[in-house]
Symmetry: C2
Subunit: 514 residues, 2 copies
């Protein structure tokens, strides 16, 4: 059995069952091994940013890493922006990057590059397999690394001859480390802050944003009067009717300063103290008041539920009812298309157990409030800020959860980065309804130009921020990749087409003209 097959069998034996792939010559023995081994679903992406963003979405929903298969340094580089995003979301993934045969690298053939240097900034674990006998064991180590809490990026570089020479056969994969409980002193410190009578906030991210964590945080805040918020963006949040609602720290600095103003204590549940997404002249980078103190309840890689339980107990909140959302489902909005109307209709239409992928950027900033009382759903955000994640993330989430509807909220500027994801959705018949908010501009940058004090844009600056001339035809793009769709210009059309997309199975795209 060659090294390639030894690796594939190790992956499958270790419970890695999906490989998002865009292979090349140096990966052909790995690809050939896939034919001989059952238990690995292979999903082709026509661009590597699709592959890596899908692996991120897959991990967020399945809590198990997928493998990616990438073609040397440039193939990795094409996927690197979404690996950056996955890294910031603490998603686990196992990148298998082919390389030239060990003896061939010295000749500097065209595709030669310094892969290890390239991958290091976004990988927790990196190894170049030295030979075919080592590949399976290296793969097992990569799995353990990827599963190490809260989830890590493991990158295994596979010279072609380590795949085609005789390998070791599969090796067993050891268990990954478990999450540690938060230290007792941390719980006591946080309880003391909550009991101080001074203004407090619980700031959550990570696993604490699932139903059980939210309920505990809700009890604690109901009992103590502390504020409850989530980080500005989060890998996965349980939301909707019957669950505790929480807002996010706003993106806009002045809004964030307003929300955090007056606080004396922030209790960090996996979260970090809020900082501005970007720096702006004469505005602070740190968003909390100067005399506000951080209290770490648990780190992101520690177990938050136990920590919240202990904290609830320490402040006597155990019997307190959590303030869950009981409002009626919102009504469909009508008339002119505008962000709040879209939020309301979305809240009305979201099916039970939907997975919402949010890369709506400016259009979607206010969607949290109007979707508060929607049917229970998961909300996935872009945590690394590199646009082009949405449609790939939706693709991976749909692969992980074939029985759930995925709703992808996408900006037109962001969507164009990785539009090839639509083809993968068509090929795999994935149940994704994509809403492209077509404002025909990098709208966020028009605001940012003012925020950084760069003055009123002239013609040349505006041309750099403007997606019009010519307008993109998103329905045409989708159709050309096998995804049906419709363009809408009123809320009535939106409601009808959105219901149509959500009611069908398989991919569908709606271009929402703003």
């Amino acid at each position: 059995m060659n090294g390639g097959e030894s690796l594939v069998r190790t992956l499958v034996g270790g419970g890695i069952n999906v490989c998002f792939a865009n292979p090349g010559t140096s990966e052909m023995h790995f690809v050939a091994a896939l034919d001989r081994v059952d238990g690995m679903r292979c999903v082709l992406g026509l661009f590597e940013g699709v592959v890596t963003g899908a692996a991120d979405g897959y991990f967020r929903m399945s809590e198990n890493p997928a493998a990616t298969l990438l073609h040397l340094g440039p193939g990795y580089a094409n996927g690197a922006a979404n690996i950056h995003n996955a890294n910031k979301a603490s998603s686990g993934m196992i990148n298998i990057v082919g390389d030239h045969a060990t003896y061939h690298r010295q000749y500097d053939a065209p595709l030669t590059s310094d892969i290890e240097t390239l991958v290091r900034p976004n990988s927790h674990w990196v190894k170049t397999s030295p030979n075919a006998m080592s590949v399976a064991a290296d793969g097992a180590a990569a799995i353990v690394a990827a599963r190490t809490p809260p989830g890590q990026i493991a990158t295994l570089i596979l010279p072609a001859d380590t795949a085609w020479n005789d390998g070791s056969g599969p090796v067993p994969v050891p268990a990954a480390p478990k999450r540690e409980p938060a230290p007792a002193a941390a719980i006591e410190d946080c309880a003391k802050a909550l009991r101080s009578g001074e203004p407090c906030m619980l700031l959550l991210t990570g696993r604490a944003l699932r139903e059980d964590g939210l309920a505990l945080a809700g009890q604690i805040c109901a009992k103590t009067g502390a504020k409850l918020m989530a980080q500005g963006s989060n890998a996965r949040t349980h939301r909707g009717r019957g669950r505790v609602f929480l807002e996010r720290v706003p993106y806009v600095v002045d809004q964030a300063l307003g929300v955090l103003g007056g606080l004396k204590h922030i209790i960090l549940v996996g979260a970090r103290m809020p900082v501005a997404f970007f720096a702006y002249p004469n505005k602070p980078s740190l968003l909390h008041p100067e005399d506000c103190r951080p209290h770490v309840l648990c780190q992101l890689d520690e177990e938050p539920i136990g920590a919240l339980e202990a904290l609830a107990q320490a402040v006597g909140a155990t019997g307190t009812p959590a303030p869950v959302v009981n409002d009626p489902r919102p009504e469909l909005a009508t008339g002119k298309i505008e962000p709040m109307a879209l939020g309301r209709s979305l809240g009305a239409l979201l099916p039970e157990n939907a997975i919402v992928v949010d890369e709506a950027v400016t259009t979607g900033r206010g969607f949290f409030a109007p979707t508060k009382a929607a049917a229970p759903h998961d909300w996935l955000s872009n945590m690394g800020g590199s646009i082009g994640l949405g449609m790939p993330l939706a693709t991976g989430a749909a692969v992980a959860c074939p029985d759930r509807k995925v709703v992808c909220l996408e900006g037109d500027g962001s969507g164009m980065y990785t539009l090839q994801a639509l083809w993968t959705q068509a090929r795999e018949g994935l149940d994704v309804t994509t809403l492209v908010f077509s404002n025909r501009t990098y709208q966020i940058l028009k605001g940012e130009l003012a925020n950084v004090g760069a003055g009123n844009p002239g013609r040349k600056a505006l041309d750099m921020l403007d997606l019009g001339n010519p307008d993109l035809d998103w329905v045409g793009l989708a159709k050309a990749m096998g995804v049906p769709g419709a363009k809408v210009t009123t809320m009535e059309e939106f409601n009808r087409r959105c219901a149509e997309g959500l009611g069908s199975s398989g991919p569908y795209l709606i271009e929402v003209v703003l």
Copy 2:
């Protein structure tokens, strides 16, 4: 004057007049400065791979670097594959990569990344500007680096506050180093090899592939009986009627071994000894016979014309007529679409002075012979092997040469990587006719699977190599981005549509169904 404007004025003053851009918040002061400074054409790409590939095409045709404007580490990463290609083509470019304000980086906001490490593998020159007073001087140094022969990648990292704080004003840009002449001893060594009577070959790349270099090489070979070839891929080759014709070292290892078999001397004119693009089990990496010796006439960064003149003189070839192509223009091919027929029709239809961008991969491998007697033209290849270069390269070449027709030969698999280039072509009204060879497969990989001895592919492996299910509609994709086009299924249709595209001005796309 702030740092951003100081930099823009330095660039313009230093003769940098085109900026391919995909900016974000951290680059807004640079963008705003563009409004206040004349002389910089800004071209927006909707994905960074378009931006960097365009800069490569611009350099190859104008021999002057363009600037690129990229958004932090992930923005750079999205453009990195085509920077890899530009690096291998020795194209000069000045990458301006925004970063967080110097004081903001410590807070690890979402878009924070280790940009210097990321850019180093593909940059000859890297600097992070420490403050606004330094930016203009750093920009001047980047220009010099980019112009250093044969052309280099310079990457200037620009923290946001170095753009918005008070800068130095523009600084003058010193002249870049000139190409050195080849050493006399090198010419004598090569002349001796040519006079030995043993089988010799002249292997050319770089500037030697322009009309004057080809004529001199043609004289030398006519006089001495040496073979004449070009590297497997080359940044820019002068071709067509009235010029000396040369073939390339084949991609397929066995063919290359055949072509190079029996040689005792290879005279390297900017070129390196040929190596296999990939390694294959039981095949050599080095393609020349064991007893064949290399002789460096000139390095890639040295002056090849003077070296070839001196060599011609040394072997007494000065008066010898160069064997230029005098064949009649080929006739249009008819009937079934197949690679050689496409090559013949292309040879018949290419307009005078066209720029051919070749990322046709498998379909185009045999195009050199049938286009030998086409009207004089330039031929640009992908030298780094990372697919997704073609349409961006064509975009940049068209910006550099608005009076010449650009013909882009593109594989469907390669084209999907950076299809956003079509939108830029539409917006800028660029005169590019794109031929997408739609074989609905990564055809090259089917061959490679066999070449690496991975056996016959089964269903799962084939699915990873297959672009069908669903078929891509290239005409639909182009139309949705503002580029008209047509699909053709016979050579008669091809001839008609190709003439239509070449006869129009502005972008046009033909999907050639194979």
